[in-house]
Each structure stands twice: as structure tokens, then as C-alpha cells.
């Protein structure tokens, strides 16, 4: 067909993007893996290869394992609560929790309000929650004193000053900010489920819970699966929230170290051990890919056509 000018168009349109993408993204990823096999500190122009030493060192690094463990804990807690609440609210808004075919009053309003924290910059959420948890003049302290409790006696040193609570306190902020997003995702999925299926379920005497478990959930399962992978990978990548809420956890470990903050500190404050940090980055990459594959395998269910 229109051969003339076709290659000119293809080249003009794809090359600029590809150049930018190659220079900053692809070459960074490739060099990240390359540097992980060296002891580079950024000061010498040459790379000295040390084989798998960085990876062997990671295996014996207690701080690394602790931050991996923290990531795993967040990986379980954040998706369970976020997706659980998102599913609950979405199904309550869609059909008043099924059985009832009328939409719940105020549904649009809830959608707009619940979604809003998702667009608030993460740094702002981190700072806001630092003040929510503050022992002097904090929102949580204010609520507790209404029932005659003192935050510092309930949680010594406050949630962000106590290594046993800080991770949970950060997870709460993460859940707070993302429930609405996933609720909107599930709302659009549930809106596409035909009403007849719920009418049939109601006819058979299914209540809210049963029609949710046996009608809604199986039909939107692929969305739940996608949402879980998004959230899980996001949790591995989470940096800003942890960094801000642990008083820039980049400076030291305040009990909330995750892989990303430990990597940052290794690269940019602990004598710039770039090689070692790059090995952490490579492991994180492998972890993300493995996680996505495993999730797809484990949560594979029959696909329902409707």
C-alpha cells in the first residue's frame, strides 16, 4: 500500500523514544546487573570484577535478611487488608452487598472520597501520618485521650519510635492510601457482572455473603489477581513512605528497614558501596519477577465466561 514515506515515518517516530529509553532505562538495568559483580564505589573509572562475592555477602548479611523479612511482612499485611476492604466496599456499593439490586445511596460520593488518597503524593501521606502518630498534638493521641488513654502508655515511644510497631504504623498509612483505588477497580469489574446472576442467586435464597462468595468473587477473580500482583510489586518497591515515616530511614535503621531503604543507604551513605547495592537491586528484580510468576500460578482458577 503506501510504501512511500513509510520507513521515514517509522524511523522518525520510534527512534527518539528508543534512544532516550536505551540511554536511561535499558542501559541502567544492564549496568545494574554488571556492577553487581564488582566492588565499584563510584570513585574509580574502572570496574574490578569480584565474581559472586556481593551475592555471597548478602546471604550472610543479617540486616539484609531483616529488611527482606520486613518486606515479606508488608507483602502479606498490605494486600490482605487493602484488597479485603476494597472488595468489601465495592460489593457494598455495587448491589448493597448483593441480593439487593438497587445501587447503594451515596455510592458516587464514596467513590470520589475513597479514591482521593491515591492521588495524594506519598511523601505528603508520610508526613501527614507522622503527625497523626505524634505523641504531642497528634490525631491519634487526641482520639485516645477522649477515652482517657495516653498514646505513650499504649505504645511506648509512640508508633513510629517503637521498633515493634513502626512497620504496622507504616502499613496502616499504605492501606489508607490505596483502598479506594482498588475499590474503583473492583467496582468497574463488578458493574459488568449481569444482574440476572444475582437475581438467580437471590432466588435460590443466597444472602449477601453467599452471593458474594459464590457469584461475585469467582467472576472478578482475574481482577483480584492482577490487583494482588500490582500491590505486591508496589510493596517491594515502596521507598518514599518508609523513608519519610522512619525519619528518613535512609540515615539509619529505625526498625522499619525494607530492601529499598537498605539498598539506598548502602549505595548513598555507607561509603557508597555501589557494587553491593547493585547486587541488592538485582535480587529485588529477580524477586519481583518470581513473585509475579508464582502469584499467577498459585491463584490460577477457572476463567468464567459471562
Amino acid at each position: 500500500m503506501h510504501k512511500r514515506g513509510l520507513w521515514r515515518l517509522i524511523v522518525t517516530f520510534t527512534v527518539p523514544g528508543l534512544v532516550l529509553y536505551t540511554v536511561f532505562v535499558l542501559s541502567s538495568f544492564a549496568q545494574g546487573v554488571q556492577i553487581s559483580f564488582t566492588d565499584w564505589t563510584g570513585f574509580t573509572p574502572d570496574l574490578t570484577y569480584i565474581g559472586l562475592d556481593n551475592y555471597l555477602r548478602l546471604l550472610g548479611d543479617g540486616s539484609w535478611w531483616r529488611s527482606v523479612w520486613h518486606n515479606v511482612a508488608l507483602l502479606v499485611v498490605i494486600p490482605v487488608f487493602t484488597l479485603g476492604l476494597a472488595l468489601l466496599f465495592a460489593s457494598l456499593i455495587t448491589r448493597g452487598g448483593a441480593g439487593n439490586l438497587r445501587a447503594t445511596p451515596g455510592g458516587d460520593l464514596y467513590r470520589i472520597l475513597f479514591f482521593f488518597p491515591q492521588v495524594v503524593p506519598v511523601v505528603i501521606i508520610g508526613i501527614l501520618f507522622s503527625y497523626v502518630y505524634a505523641s504531642r498534638g497528634g490525631l491519634l493521641q487526641g482520639l485516645l485521650s477522649m477515652v482517657g488513654l495516653d498514646l505513650l502508655t499504649v505504645v511506648p515511644n509512640g508508633p513510629l519510635g517503637n521498633p515493634r510497631f513502626i512497620l504496622l504504623a507504616i502499613a496502616v498509612a499504605a492501606v489508607w492510601s490505596s483502598v479506594g483505588f482498588y475499590m474503583v477497580l473492583f467496582l468497574s469489574a463488578m458493574g459488568r457482572v449481569p444482574d440476572e446472576l444475582f437475581e438467580a442467586a437471590a432466588l435460590d435464597g443466597a444472602g449477601r455473603l453467599r452471593s458474594f462468595l459464590h457469584v461475585t468473587l469467582p467472576l472478578i477473580w482475574s481482577h483480584v489477581q492482577t490487583a494482588f500482583i500490582y500491590l505486591a510489586i508496589g510493596t517491594i518497591d515502596s521507598f518514599a513512605l518508609v523513608a519519610v515515616m522512619s525519619q528518613t530511614g535512609t540515615a539509619a535503621d529505625f526498625g522499619a528497614d525494607v530492601m529499598s531503604t537498605y539498598l539506598y543507604r548502602t549505595a548513598f551513605s555507607l561509603n557508597s558501596q555501589f557494587g553491593y547495592a547493585a547486587a541488592m537491586g538485582t535480587v529485588m528484580m529477580l524477586g519481583s519477577v518470581a513473585l509475579a510468576l508464582v502469584t499467577f500460578r498459585l491463584t490460577k482458577r477457572e476463567e468464567y465466561e459471562y
Binding site: 503506501h2 514515506g5 513509510l6 521515514r8 515515518l9 517509522i10 522518525t12 517516530f13 520510534t14 528508543l18 532516550l20 529509553y21 536511561f24 532505562v25 535499558l26 541502567s28 538495568f29 545494574g32 563510584g42 476492604l85 466496599f89 457494598l92 448493597g96 452487598g97 439490586l101 438497587r102 447503594t104 445511596p105 451515596g106 460520593l109 472520597l113 475513597f114 482521593f116 492521588v119 495524594v120 503524593p121 506519598v122 511523601v123 505528603i124 508520610g126 508526613i127 501527614l128 503527625y131 497523626v132 498534638g137 490525631l139 487526641g142 483502598v179 437471590a202 510489586i233 517491594i236 518514599a240 535512609t250 547495592a277 547493585a278 541488592m280 529485588m284 528484580m285 519481583s288 519477577v289
Partner: protein, 316 residues
């Protein structure tokens, strides 16, 4: 942002009797089932209202605290401000240097989103409409960038940006933002261009239009809804960005005048521990709110966009 507690909008329960016959289990008396179903209609609100409070209260509390002195915040966390201290916002803008952070962010995000859109639209269009030898490979190259975590790239990125002489410059941030926003944008827009009808462009070809003419005069206007969605997505993501500026844009002078908002606010929050003035906490909150204004504006527009997109999808 409206400070009206949104809960007051809770609509009254629907007065119509719940009649759908299929909901009434056989044998139950109509009057009783009607009352119990009205009670049942309230159950969703029992869960939704508390979460609405959980979402709204911290935000409203931040707004209120931005008008109070430190002492007022300490003594009565929920009390209203004793006077309307709008001056706090002026102080935040000038003294706390929010103005510089804000301007830097606007420049970087405008450049970043603009460049992302330009490059992504071109790449996606060709990949969707002119599959060529190697377009499949290109597809997988961009897929890789979407799957890998940015932390793998962060160390070499410093080296690359330094060697280009772009360290701690707005141009450096713009290029890096755009490069990392490309994969997802290309994917989204490729799918979008594929869904557009062929008839119009074929008619234009018959009328003698060239490839570039078809792109600019036919395809771009058609793709508008998709372009707006992905532009909004990139705007929010880049306005939000924290890791990349922290690594590539470190402090250059005493006033941190090269910082973007996320860095500047994080630094202010840390310094706040030292209580620099009687309204230092309010200034920080005011700074948070100022930096949320563009996001809020976009969010309000975005709501409409989402609804348009949904109806467009339903009509197809």
C-alpha cells in the same frame, strides 16, 4: 477541598417498599420482610460511613491545623483555630521556600509529561498501526522496562546522568522522568490506537493524505480520550516522584533552591523537629496543602474523564 463533612450527604433510606418478589423467601410475611429489608439496606452504610470518616478526618485535621499555632495544636488537637491565620500560607510560600520547590516541580513535571507524551504517542502509533520488522522486539524491550524495579537502575543512573553533565539539573530530571514513564505510556497508547477504527484513515489515504498527515489530522484527534488519561496518569506519577529527585537532585545551596516539592517537604518535616517558629507546624501543613492543589484540580477533572471513558467504553 470542601471541608464539609461528606457524611452529612448520606441520603435518607429509600422510602419505597422493597417489593422484588424474588427477594422474599417463600412463606415469609410481606410486612416483616419489608421492614427487615429496609434495615438491611442500611447495612452497607454501617461500613461505608466509618471508612469515609477514616479517609476524611486526617485530611480535614491537616487543613484545620494549618491555621493553628504549635501551642494550639499541642493543647487541643481537635479544637478550631483561635483566629484565621491565612498569613501562615504566605509564610510557607516565602519563608519555607515552598515557592521555589513549587516552581521547580512545575517545570520538571511539565517538561517530563510533555516529553513522555510526545515520544510515547509516536512510538505507540507506529507499533499499533504499522507493524514492521522488529516491532515485536521493540514491544518486549518496553515490556522489560515495565517489569523491572527502578532500584536495579538507581545506582548506574547516577553515573549516567553525571557523565552527561545533567546531575542536579531540571533537564536531567525531565529526561529521566520521561524515560521511566515511557514503557507504561507506550503500552497503554498502543492498545488505544489499536482500538481506533481504520475507516477514517483509509478514507484520508484515498483522498491523498500522507502518513504524517493522517497521524496529525485524523489519529491524534481520535485518540484524545486515551491521551488525556495517560497524561493525567503521568502527571500524578511525576508530581509524586520522590526517589529519583532524592538521588539525582541533591541539595545544591543553603536554601535547597533546586529541590522539588517532595524533597522540600520531606526536608521541612525533618527540620520541623526543631520548631523554628510558633507556627512552624502550621507552615508545614500549609506547605503540604499548597502542594496538593494541582493534584486536587487534576483529580476533579480526572473524575469527569473517568466517567467519559467508561461511557465511551460502554457504547462501543
Amino acid at each position: 477541598m470542601s471541608t464539609q463533612p461528606l457524611m452529612t450527604d448520606r441520603p435518607a433510606p429509600d422510602p419505597r417498599p422493597a417489593t422484588p418478589a424474588h427477594r422474599v423467601p417463600k412463606g415469609s410475611r410481606p410486612s416483616r420482610s419489608s421492614r427487615s429489608s429496609r434495615v438491611a439496606a442500611l447495612i452497607p452504610q454501617l461500613f461505608l460511613v466509618p471508612w469515609a470518616l477514616v479517609v476524611a478526618v486526617p485530611l480535614v485535621w491537616m487543613l484545620m491545623s494549618s491555621l493553628k499555632t504549635n501551642v494550639e495544636i499541642y493543647n487541643s488537637p481537635f479544637g478550631p483555630p483561635s483566629e484565621l491565620r491565612v498569613g501562615v500560607y504566605v509564610d510557607a510560600w516565602t519563608e519555607s521556600n515552598i515557592s521555589a520547590f513549587f516552581l521547580n516541580t512545575v517545570v520538571v513535571v511539565a517538561g517530563g509529561v510533555g516529553l513522555t507524551m510526545l515520544l510515547a504517542v509516536m512510538t505507540a502509533y507506529v507499533m499499533a498501526k504499522y507493524p514492521f520488522r522488529g516491532s515485536r522486539a521493540l514491544y518486549y524491550l518496553y515490556l522489560a522496562g515495565m517489569t523491572f524495579p527502578v532500584f536495579l537502575a538507581i545506582v548506574p543512573l547516577v553515573k549516567i546522568v553525571q557523565s552527561l553533565g545533567l546531575f542536579a539539573t531540571p533537564v536531567g530530571l525531565i529526561l529521566v522522568y520521561a524515560a521511566f514513564s515511557l514503557p507504561f505510556s507506550v503500552f497503554f497508547l498502543t492498545a488505544f490506537f489499536r482500538s481506533l477504527p481504520e475507516e477514517l484513515s483509509e478514507a484520508a489515504f484515498i483522498d491523498g493524505a500522507g502518513h504524517f498527515g493522517v497521524f496529525f489530522r485524523i489519529m491524534l484527534p481520535l485518540a484524545r480520550p486515551g491521551l488525556i488519561s495517560i497524561a493525567v496518569f503521568n502527571f500524578l506519577g511525576q508530581w509524586n516522584q520522590y526517589l529519583i529527585p532524592v538521588v539525582l537532585n541533591p541539595q545544591q545551596d543553603e536554601e535547597r533552591s533546586n529541590y522539588v516539592l517532595s524533597q522540600g517537604l520531606a526536608a521541612l518535616a525533618l527540620g520541623e523537629n526543631y520548631e523554628t517558629s510558633p507556627t512552624s507546624m502550621a507552615q508545614l501543613f500549609a506547605g503540604l496543602l499548597i502542594s496538593m492543589v494541582p493534584v486536587l484540580i487534576v483529580y476533579i477533572l480526572f473524575q469527569r474523564q473517568v466517567q467519559q471513558g467508561l461511557t465511551a467504553g460502554a457504547l462501543k
